[in-house]
Symmetry: D2
Subunit: 289 residues, 4 copies
């Protein structure tokens, strides 16, 4: 197998209007750069006139020089073929900020998967509008910032958060953060804010989904991880799952059962995002899971 330290894995994401020969073009380019393709995923919204999406995971020997060469030569390829592209490697971990309120089930699942190396990120900070989780978060060596938030202070509080985040993080996870972010805030991180909604969207958009699920008498409850846009609970869905319930479940039981779906769905969405497996197309996602 590979000698440790000399080979590294990288990922190239490409999207462009459908055109003949695009796969050949890109794989030829990688071949010339000594990239050894490990996984190749592709999708087209319409083979005649749609949008083409591609994710290539590849190994590079002599990583430092090879990757540098790729970074140098990709812009020209992109220009020539009108490609949107993104290049990442395992050598550089994404930096994830977590926003929480009072509930700890989602953030603890993320932290556990981070510590067990299942989600390879850095966590430069946790931001919360409450102090409840401060001690627990700090016990993992993660900086915790308390930014109180009310209707009146929202603009100011978001400004403070943006300053903390600036240049320090790559994406944000709302791990049961019970505040609605402003369009201004969201515009700073397009398709880089992941939220967990505690229902099977589009059912029960908005507040108190478990109470409404209880009142409607559904037989399954669910959770949805999605990118945040200005339309509440309408952003591109990354992952969803459900849990069977029955007539014996009280509202409280729904919340308890739901926690386990929420933490699983959010953690998987975050893992896919971190591994560059999620591409956004309009209000939908392509997930090369």
């Amino acid at each position: 197998m590979y000698k440790k330290g000399t080979v590294s894995r990288a990922r190239l994401l490409i999207s462009c209007p459908e055109k003949p020969g695009i796969i050949s073009t890109v794989t030829n380019f990688l071949l010339e750069h000594n990239a050894n393709i490990v996984h190749f995923d592709q999708h087209t919204t319409d083979p005649q006139a749609g949008i083409f999406f591609m994710r290539i995971e590849f190994d590079l020997e002599d990583f430092d020089s090879s990757f540098e060469k790729l970074e140098q030569d990709l812009p020209a390829l992109g220009r020539d073929y009108a490609l949107d592209w993104q290049l990442n490697s395992n050598e550089k971990r994404k930096r994830m900020a977590i926003f929480v309120s009072k509930m700890n089930h989602c953030i603890l699942e993320l932290i556990w998967r981070w510590k067990s190396k299942e989600i390879p990120v850095e966590i430069p900070m946790v931001i919360s509008n409450h102090v409840d989780l401060k001690e627990e978060v700090e016990s993992y060596g993660i900086p915790f910032y308390h930014i109180p938030m009310s209707k009146e202070t929202k603009e100011h509080a978001e400004q403070k958060a943006l300053e903390l985040l600036k240049g320090e993080i790559d994406f944000i996870v709302l791990a049961r953060y019970m505040q609605i972010l402003s369009p201004n805030f969201i515009s700073k991180y397009p398709n880089q804010i992941i939220n967990i909604h505690h229902s099977f969207l589009p059912a029960f958009v908005g507040a108190n989904p478990y109470v409404r699920a209880f009142n409607r008498g559904v037989k399954l409850i669910g959770a949805t991880a999605h990118y945040v846009t200005n339309d509440l609970d309408e952003g591109p869905i990354i992952e969803q799952d459900v849990q069977r319930i029955n007539h014996r479940y009280t509202e409280e039981d729904l919340k308890i059962a739901g926690r386990h779906v929420e933490k699983k769905v959010l953690a998987e969405a975050v893992s896919w995002h971190v591994h560059d497996k999620v591409l956004v197309h309009g209000n939908k996602t392509i997930v090369f899971a």
Copy 2:
């Protein structure tokens, strides 16, 4: 075990306001009537002041005389304790009418489970607003009635259907019947009409759920079997299930994948209804599955 012909199974459903000793009262009554309890299910919406639901499945030796005695004595018990009750036995099969339009996947699943004795019913008739399935239905020896329906003829057509059904059937299954029944029709069969909606309600209430699921980019599609009320797609949910999909599914693929969830969910809801396992409470169901 039992000698064939001398023992039969029966079911007693009871609901009443919560009161002390209700289980003792009813089980004592059954004991006196020589009923041997096989399954006992119970639910209460609130142990202090809620509604109490009970389903008892029991064996009766010397069925004819024992059952007759039960039928005689239950009304008095019901009066004394203010019980809503319902008594059924395997000796008398429920009679099911099926309403269809053009698609055959749901009705064929019901027919297969009927022929394989998984759903022990009689099927006195199928009613359709199209002729497409006439030959197929009749090949199973089931009478097929074609009642065309348009906006203008709806009242007349429903009247015709009601005349056909009157006294001949116990409940109705809408097996992808693409017409909305009038309040007048529905009032004749309260909680006795089962519909299959091709989405995970309350997501995508109304028309074209698969198209809307495609456009929203959900990661799971579902189906919902529910009793029909005057509020479209708002009746008590009996069963729901989902099927995982991904970005490769076209609208057409969603419809195809959805058919298998629809037929399964509908068949299970019908089976539970036939076995008296579904009790309705307001807009919700208690399912003793």
Copy 3:
């Protein structure tokens, strides 16, 4: 609703050879003792000549005196009707010992559900044959005992564990404890030791199930929680679940995916055990979940 402090919930488990009127007898008894039945579950292995199982959850006003009266009068009822019975209440929490080796995913899930009050137990101690998890366990205020174990020291080590446990705990959870307990040890806690096996039993009994699942090319991996008996991986199964995988999963990926099934399956089995929802019948369980 209830006034705090004056009402408590209790549970009565009963098993006996099938006999007429057993439900009436027991519910009459509870009625006389002012117990208000909240949940009633029942099962019979054969309505004519089988074993009858019953679980009744009920509320008691004036808990202290009512419960004491129940405890006094139950033995006579049990004698008269040849019942096996067990009486528990929410007032007295079960005491759970956890055995671990090096992996923390299962124990952390148990600890989280304990801290969030989802699993209402006391955890008097964690015992491990390694020191790896000492600091983490103690950070939750739980005593941690390191008892090294090798083939040679096994008898002595188990003796030491038994002394620590004696009188201090009610049941034991093996949360990925990588040692096989001796028949002598197991005999001290019959149907009171819960193990998580990392496969969908009876597939892949024994060591290295993920490696063997990988080699066999299965499309689902699973986990099984069961009571421990002297026959390795053959004890009564409490809960099982599976996770879909595909050809891209390496052996390492199977282990990672499996962890999430393991922790969920074990936590649910433990929760049911704690709530007295699991009855054992021979090598099988009845789970009133």
Copy 4:
């Protein structure tokens, strides 16, 4: 979109020892042959020294001449690069023989998916060791051959079947066919015979899996579709799924519940086989579903 009649979809399957540039080579080749790639799937067992698998689905304008050209030029490409390859198109449907015994649930599901165009095959014949399903199969216009089989007549009966099949079919589905095929028979259709086993393999290999599942007290039952090899129930697994059960299920109930898993799992495996989505590697499959 495409003009009807002028464009058709084709599929190229490739496997070979891992080598640099293989994707470029093949996609360049397809580009030169005016193939428009619609779906591209790839897998490698080891990026350095493993086996490489590829499935490309592509559209061809002027199908007749384009496809002919591909068929002419592929052998040379295969030789030059030491590729195993297979080329198919939607223009030519695979021919499927179905073997059954007495149970009809699996074959009816296949027939329904065939009639609804979900599984695009031809069904030249059904062969059975019983006459029970003759009338039902023939009602769909499918020739039915009854070949009785006993220990003594097995060799002769298989010979008769082989003669019927020869040149008429491409693959065989054992839709609950309760006979074990001989190595001689199997050798004629390597990786072209699909069986449905009524358990979650490798649990309950061999006879009476539901009885054994009942006795073991499992909480999920399953079904497994696999290619038939000389080792009973040991062939490459194509698909598996499970169904939750509980202590109330009798052996008979397990069989009934199992039927629905069996028919679904088998139909999906057959559909994938028909669409060339299954590649075999040793005793495992790669499924590009």
